[in-house]
Assembly symmetry: D2
Homo-oligomer: 345 residues x 4
Amino acid sequence: MIISMKLHATREEINHVRERIEEFGYKVHSIAGEERVVIGAVGMGDVTACLESIEAMPGVERAVRISAPYKFVSREFRQEKTRIQVRDTVIGGDEFVTMAGPCSVESEKQILETAELVAKHGAKLLRGGAFKPRTSPYDFQGLELEGLKLLDKARRITGLGIITEVMSDRDVEMVAEYADILQIGARNMQNFSLLKTLGKCGRPILLKRGLSSTIKELLMSAEYIVAHGNPDVMLCERGIRTFETATRNTCDITAVAVLNELTHLPVILDPSHATGKRSLVPPLARAAVAIGSDGMIVEVHPNPEKAVSDGAQSLDPQQWAAMMEDLKPYLALWKQARLKEAVAV
Amino acid sequence: MIISMKLHATREEINHVRERIEEFGYKVHSIAGEERVVIGAVGMGDVTACLESIEAMPGVERAVRISAPYKFVSREFRQEKTRIQVRDTVIGGDEFVTMAGPCSVESEKQILETAELVAKHGAKLLRGGAFKPRTSPYDFQGLELEGLKLLDKARRITGLGIITEVMSDRDVEMVAEYADILQIGARNMQNFSLLKTLGKCGRPILLKRGLSSTIKELLMSAEYIVAHGNPDVMLCERGIRTFETATRNTCDITAVAVLNELTHLPVILDPSHATGKRSLVPPLARAAVAIGSDGMIVEVHPNPEKAVSDGAQSLDPQQWAAMMEDLKPYLALWKQARLKEAVAV
Amino acid sequence: MIISMKLHATREEINHVRERIEEFGYKVHSIAGEERVVIGAVGMGDVTACLESIEAMPGVERAVRISAPYKFVSREFRQEKTRIQVRDTVIGGDEFVTMAGPCSVESEKQILETAELVAKHGAKLLRGGAFKPRTSPYDFQGLELEGLKLLDKARRITGLGIITEVMSDRDVEMVAEYADILQIGARNMQNFSLLKTLGKCGRPILLKRGLSSTIKELLMSAEYIVAHGNPDVMLCERGIRTFETATRNTCDITAVAVLNELTHLPVILDPSHATGKRSLVPPLARAAVAIGSDGMIVEVHPNPEKAVSDGAQSLDPQQWAAMMEDLKPYLALWKQARLKEAVAV
Amino acid sequence: MIISMKLHATREEINHVRERIEEFGYKVHSIAGEERVVIGAVGMGDVTACLESIEAMPGVERAVRISAPYKFVSREFRQEKTRIQVRDTVIGGDEFVTMAGPCSVESEKQILETAELVAKHGAKLLRGGAFKPRTSPYDFQGLELEGLKLLDKARRITGLGIITEVMSDRDVEMVAEYADILQIGARNMQNFSLLKTLGKCGRPILLKRGLSSTIKELLMSAEYIVAHGNPDVMLCERGIRTFETATRNTCDITAVAVLNELTHLPVILDPSHATGKRSLVPPLARAAVAIGSDGMIVEVHPNPEKAVSDGAQSLDPQQWAAMMEDLKPYLALWKQARLKEAVAV
């Protein structure tokens, strides 16, 4: 920790801060600048509690933590990328993994038709919501258990893995019974009660970044899951909320590169929610591959205008096929780069 | 709904949209502009589903909903402000209601001392967290049930009502047993599973605005609670997340005035979280009174530098007393204005 | 400056940073923490250049400036509030100063009518744009010189001071000839070429905060003007840009309290641009007074629906009169507080 | 325009709005919904003035423009991409164009060395600031005329085109004498006085998106330049300001795809300012190529730690060479896609 004192902090105030730091078990290093005193605290202890205490003291201008607030998820803790095995697919390995499917599971016909469609063009996992977080209480809330069973049926027929959202700690066990990966939506990224439960669920987690969550907060939420016992977490950039209204969200694509520096967890991009508009999905998917994401999750629907949700951002069958075809040479470059890295490490 | 077609939308595309609107049970009104066709849809039906369907259709540029997406919480539904009775206090009535106390319940001594302090200077409710949402899994997570019991003890001694946070639908019943008001934190504003449970809990709710939630989304979340059976909801502006870092959050104070136009639910301001800095709390509290909030919720601690959380934004006993004294003439003006309005209505 | 090195920074990298800091004329203090090395640099020198150099070096994680980047505008440089005399009014003194008038000067009739109206209810300055920054090249761009002459006429008749916007360094001299205060719009807050010219213009400046400018950047822009020779600068909070669309901008009202701590320059609030909606102006004006602004600038128009710009946020004559009447007891409290402070200092 | 009336708007209010619309020369279409009246206005006229007037009227809830507010820059006005010839390079054609160089021109040695370095690895234009917009009045402000002369010398030696920033309408003529492209910085995107002058300068313009400007506002600013006589404008995404602090700005990469739909003007990406950190530039550059930008502008410095500005985001010679090598297969895919599109059109 570094504490900078106010310009006119008194001798007593400075000493008081020094004593308090020592009470927390840290060693104190003072630096008397031309204008103000800066204090460094070195050692191991309860950083947050110490910082909050110091910030509340008179004469203190700012208290800043130097060390990262997360451990298990950091690259410094573990150098090689976490590889998450889901059926016969590895996320974080040397294949870019595509997850695709409708926003919501709507009917047996719809989900089976979509499953075959996405499998045919290279997806390894089928997405589809059985529990739907909806802004309005009057909108379709999902088929729930019935939806899970339909996903299971689609898996048996196509061999695709299943990724689906869980919204409440009460449903974790049930969803984990059916899904290969549990998806946590942006609005639940800091549902700490849910995060703790996920630590014990025995399934890999795809954790979506909150609408206005920083990269650091995303890592802290992943740390919750890992610290509670589940190391198989992948992170998902799906656009953040800004002032721009031309797209549904603003895709912070650089976050992929930042996360690749900070963490060993795989990073997935969601070009559908990031844009909210079908025509923007294929160009953003190319960028997602080029920047080095470990995979993507895309909305596809056999007939978007009949979709009960997210129709505007769902690809129709032709667009889906064309996009996957268009991506092939980029995926080849992706694989080359990944193999080269593997050799370098 | 108003649908504007693309500039070069074809006759078929336009007809297709018209038919789809009619399938949803709406009447169609077309307006052929100089440049493009605009279509109005009139009637009653599943607006969201229809909008999402139309937006997914070729030739459509934009589909916009005209009517508000919420009902029960709107001023149009109910003109007079909702009055929420909590023990002998009414929120939304002709007293500005102050809720005060520590961020976390830490010990019997701390909570009883604070309770007497806040009661002495005019607070009607005691706040204090027993379940704490913390960004880091390594930080203090609250005393939980023990904390609730300490709050109960403070209530018996001082007569103050109790407001405390609930973070998971699993804990709603237990918290409702002890608390007079259940507080929903900013990070849970769109925890829809929790919102539904609150509809049945039998206690008034203070719903905090999410860090990047719009006013409309805040109203939609309140609508969830009301639609599920609980009309006693108050809304809380506690600052939103922006690019500015001089304060912990950016207080969107105008939201109070906007909400007073749009809804009959009481509106509470939280100057502690909105600023994150103790010296900024009293001026913002004056503004909160002046703009017409129904109350405020403030952090007070007997010794902020020993607080386990939020020390930097907690008022110490002297500051708390001074602020409440300073507010008196503003509260008198507030009451005058409220009584005048009551006569006008 | 505080430089924190990366976790695995080498001995050479650390030494290299130390040497570079010394080249810039600073003394070096190292702190070897459990995990990483932190280096403090103490002394006087070109902070920005040194910071930018250090940040570019290998092994460096972050370099942070401790001292404020502005001098003349800081409270530490000057304790008492700057008092700016404009005709017989003092801004930053013991009267809350109201500036009011139309968005644009449209005609002689319009501006004279408005001038009398605003003078009648307590405004001390008349606002009105002769040069208009418009998003579209096809919108009304202002009456320019003719507009300035009409403002001059209104001043002669009513005795009000004149505040009007200047958009280009080329026009500063001309506008300064007619105006009592030069207003710099939000979009020009970092037009550094213009700021330098204002340093020599001989008129007080009202500097509006940029749409996405931090408080620190606002102070830096004020520092430009002061450092180039003009100490009479007042700052204006007029709302920032966020994700919220219910209001035209989001009023960061806490910025007033923050600025009152950081600077001696007067602070003005603009409730018209901050809200964009007439009905929200009076409640926000009350809050502006209560929080301790030095004044406000408000849009008023004799007939808003005939205004060539900003009609939706302009008060009509009745609303203007009612607002000023409603503010009276708040202004009395404001004055009491200001006189008490003056005694305290 | 579509005007939606308030729920309880009176018959008089509705008629008043209808009359006002007709006064502006539009035809009126009313739609009486279940809940409220919606009015469409069709025809040609001064849309902004009419909208602002209507919004100011009683009983009006919202007035929304349907047609785009820009003309010349829209894809609807012109289908094929604008090709801008600069010496022997075409921007907007079938080569991805790289512009590279230091943040500031510092000395003859520095700029000549950099020019040769960037030319060697495929840049077609040399960037380098002679006039520098700096947040602080105490920072290096650029070599001005001397800097322009050094750029000219570098051009004569290497054959590279020159792109450099102009900050004030007073300097446009001088900068246009030396530069092949005039760059307008993010902080000047809405310096309307400057934009008008650029309409007559006879040089292509690179217009950077403002820190918090929407895509629509960027297009409106380009429209200013085109409407004042200069069709050769390219747009530059350089990151917007959000709450995220892990990067200097947040790169809204999807804006490239959105702009490719809305406008025929070329779009350039600036991965240096978008990230602020050298290690993030190469991955973002790959994404810029993949998503379909027409070019990029990158900061390169022979010795970043000795740079007077932006050292942390400048590539050193090795990194620059490696990045350009790494990009080659992506550029080949880019070219294939561009040629295929050309055939398709």
